[in-house]
């Protein structure tokens, strides 16, 4: 029975050529990114409403945020998007070693982002600033928290992809997972690029 099953599964996996799988995965990934945008869209809508309602509160509260740390993190993420893009191009050209290293650098950047965020949250808590302090900080923690969650998921995904890249599972003929991981990582980056000015650069 087990064997019959495996065969059955193998059949199911083989019903697409690599090109078909690539184009299907790509469409699926873009659809998924669309839902991510709708997910964050709810928070952005809440941000717009409350900022229009309480402009002074936003101006005042955002001064508590650490612009330098925010800027450093923005830089880190943009850089990591670049390394990821290089990684994807590398694997498309069959350069497995380079691709693996680039993904590794991307992961290190993501970890760095997390470390900076950890200190930021820590310093907020030590100043007795919590999600329930006021609407601005509710938004701040919800938005950056949800984003951080996406970074974590991204790190796990990229970790798996990196290992597989070093194991030479991908090459110029088949690199779909690497590209999908890249797309996802770019979205994570993109969301942050909006969050940074909205939260840190109000005034």
């Amino acid at each position: 029975m087990e064997e019959a099953n495996m065969e059955h599964d193998a059949h199911h996996d083989l019903h697409m050529t690599p090109e078909e799988e690539y184009s299907s995965s790509k469409l699926g990934m873009w659809l998924f990114l669309g839902t991510e945008i709708m997910l964050f869209g709810g928070l952005f809508a809440a941000y717009a409403i409350f900022r229009a309602k309480y402009p002074e509160l936003f101006l005042e509260s955002h001064q508590e945020l650490n612009r330098e740390m925010g800027a450093v993190n923005t830089g880190i993420l943009i850089f990591s998007s670049l390394t990821m893009a290089i990684g994807v191009t590398a694997i498309q050209r069959g350069k497995q070693m380079l691709a693996g290293i680039m993904i590794l650098v991307t992961i290190i950047c993501g970890l760095g982002f997390g470390v900076v965020k950890y200190f930021e949250y820590g310093s907020k808590f030590s100043h007795h600033i919590y999600p329930d302090t006021n609407i601005f900080f509710s938004l701040y923690f919800m938005m950056t928290g949800l984003h951080m969650l996406h970074v974590f998921v991204g790190l796990i995904v990229l970790g798996v992809i990196m290992v597989m890249t070093f194991q030479k599972k991908f090459d110029e003929k088949y690199s779909t997972p690497v590209e999908m991981g890249g797309l996802y990582w770019h979205l994570v980056d993109l969301v942050w690029i909006y969050l940074f000015p909205l939260l840190y650069l109000v005034g």
Binding site: G28, L31, F32, G34, M38, I49, D132
Partner: protein
């Protein structure tokens, strides 16, 4: 159409493999469809029994059977289970899974493993919600703030369960869209696609775009309760109406997630049993997309009494009327298909006709409710309860039962007893109307929804409604027994008992594991019934 697809090799039906493990790890869309079918049917039956208990309580004006608090818990459970566990995944996940690859001539969906993953996510959500039953919430299925943020029942667990379900819905929708784009058989052009496919496509778009919004809403509600975030709390500068806006931005489109697949089912059943080509193919196909689009613009018609501005209310009222247009287009086209057809009253057809009749009542009363002035009076009364049950039972559930009877032979390779099926249809149809028609009058007279008690003068209509619920319950019971008994009968289903032209009927019943021995070449649309077309089919 394509007849070459009939099996020539050894035929191994997809149900051949036995054993629990073979189900747990299956990536076969037909088996995953069955697992959804069983799960949603179970929730339908559980939530239905809860409904019977509620109606039993409402026999008398006093709260004598259960306490008012228990009653609140019961309608919360009934609504949440019916909406999030039965009707939203419903036809889309069960029949969508079974039919989409078969109808477009594909061996499976685009991402079979993800498909199984979505099912497990659905199960994870149900486990969380079952756990939530330890301290069941009493907010109603809408989880409105401020009450949901302050009640001491366990709102977090049940909303978290619904949040998890959302993932399942999103991934399934994504899978289906990609499948329909990428896996159609050669010659299966967009304008040859069965209308059920168009309906599934429109539904999937709604699932993708609307579900994340309810996801973030529920997440915020959880944060409100656990972290003290104040988006919906006026004391913290938040706004409870914001929750309603978020909630209905999902939940109005969600009503179309519930109904559009059923419309697709009806568009498949009617032409087969009227033996006529479907009338207005393109109008039906594109009106699904039209509905999907407009449904994003009308959410505030659930909030006319929530203190939104008069200008906004007027605009939303007007936009709501627009939804009725694509909806009515479909109804007219079904009627035109029936006109002068040679109609065969198979049980599936009876459900389809029941759908057209009852859904029309539901849709028209929706237009009443969309009219601003009328809704101020009717909002949150039994009129709304009747409206939503006419569209959801009269519409979706009729479509679901119709689909069950229609594709049963294909799905299981067995037959049920047709006379018993007709009898149960009759009980369901009559019972349903006796239960819910009086509620229109109750609502007009001002009976508010969601109360365990009511003034004396409503008792006769209330009791009538309860008697109706017993007939309805009996009908569903007989139907269930009949369908389950059929599974154990010896009568094997023929390949194509109704002479349908759709691809799924051109393979043996039950279909082989990989659906088609050879991917079929499609040369014509699916609805060429009647004179010349049938000859070359």
């Amino acid at each position: 159409m394509a007849n070459e697809s009939v099996a020539t090799n050894v035929y191994v039906p997809y149900l051949e493999q036995k054993g629990f493990m073979s189900w747990l790890v299956t990536t076969d869309h037909k088996r995953i469809g069955i697992m959804y079918l069983i799960s949603i049917s179970l929730f339908f039956l559980i939530a239905g029994i809860i409904a019977l208990l509620m109606r039993f309580e409402l026999m008398t004006p006093m709260a004598d059977f259960v306490s008012p608090h228990t009653y609140n818990v019961l309608f919360t459970l009934h609504g949440s289970l019916m909406v999030f566990f039965f009707i939203v995944p419903g036809l889309a996940a069960s029949f969508g899974n079974f039919l989409i690859p078969l109808m477009i001539g594909a061996p499976d969906v685009a991402f079979p493993k993800l498909n199984l993953g979505s099912y497990y996510i659905y199960i994870a959500g149900t486990i969380i919600v079952l756990y939530a039953l330890l301290q069941p919430a009493d907010t109603g299925w809408t989880f409105y703030t401020p009450y949901s943020a302050t009640t001491d029942t366990d709102v977090v667990m049940i909303t978290f369960g619904v949040f998890v379900l959302g993932f399942s819905s999103i991934l399934t929708g994504m899978n289906f869209i990609v499948t329909i784009h990428k896996m159609r058989a050669p010659g299966m052009t967009w304008h040859r696609l069965p209308l059920f496919i168009w309906a599934s496509y429109a539904t999937a778009v709604l699932q993708l775009l609307a579900t994340p919004v309810v996801g973030i809403t529920l997440l915020l509600l959880i944060a409100e309760r656990s972290l003290g975030v104040g988006f919906f709390d006026p004391a913290k500068g938040g706004d409870p109406v914001l929750f309603q806006n978020f909630f209905w931005f999902y939940s109005h489109p969600a009503v179309y997630i519930m109904i559009i697949p059923a419309m697709g089912v009806i568009s498949e059943i009617i032409p087969v049993f009227a033996r006529k080509p479907i009338f207005g193919y393109k109008a039906i196909a594109y009106s699904s997309l039209g509905i999907a689009f407009i449904s994003f613009l009308v959410w505030a018609h659930h909030m006319f009494t929530s203190g939104i501005s008069e200008v906004a209310a007027t605009i939303f009222s007007f936009l709501t009327f627009l939804v009725a247009i694509p909806t009515a287009i479909k109804v007219f086209n079904w009627l035109a298909t029936l006109y002068k057809g040679s109609i065969e009253l198979h049980s599936a057809m009876l459900y389809a006709l029941g759908f057209v009749f009852l859904f029309t009542i539901g849709g028209l009363t929706g237009v009443f409710l969309g009219a601003l002035a009328a809704d101020i009076h009717l909002h949150d009364t039994y009129f709304v309860v009747a409206h939503m049950h006419y569209v959801m039972i009269g519409g979706t559930v009729m479509g679901f039962f119709g689909a069950l009877h229609f594709w049963y032979p294909k799905w299981f390779g067995k037959m049920f007893n047709e006379s018993v099926a007709k009898l149960s249809w009759f009980l369901v149809f009559v019972g349903f109307n006796i239960t819910f028609f009086p509620q229109f009058f109750l609502g007009i007279q001002g009976m508010p929804r969601r109360y365990a008690t009511y003034p004396e003068e409503f008792q006769s209509l209330m009791a009538l409604s309860t008697y109706g619920s017993w007939i309805l319950g009996l009908g569903v019971l007989i139907m269930t027994v009949n369908l389950i008994k059929g599974l154990f009968s010896d009568e094997k289903a023929p390949q194509n008992p109704y002479g349908s032209l759709s691809l799924e009927w051109q393979v043996p019943s039950p279909p082989p594991t990989l659906n088609f021995d050879k991917i079929p070449e499609v040369t014509d649309w699916t609805y060429g019934y009647g004179k010349k077309k049938e000859v070359d089919a």
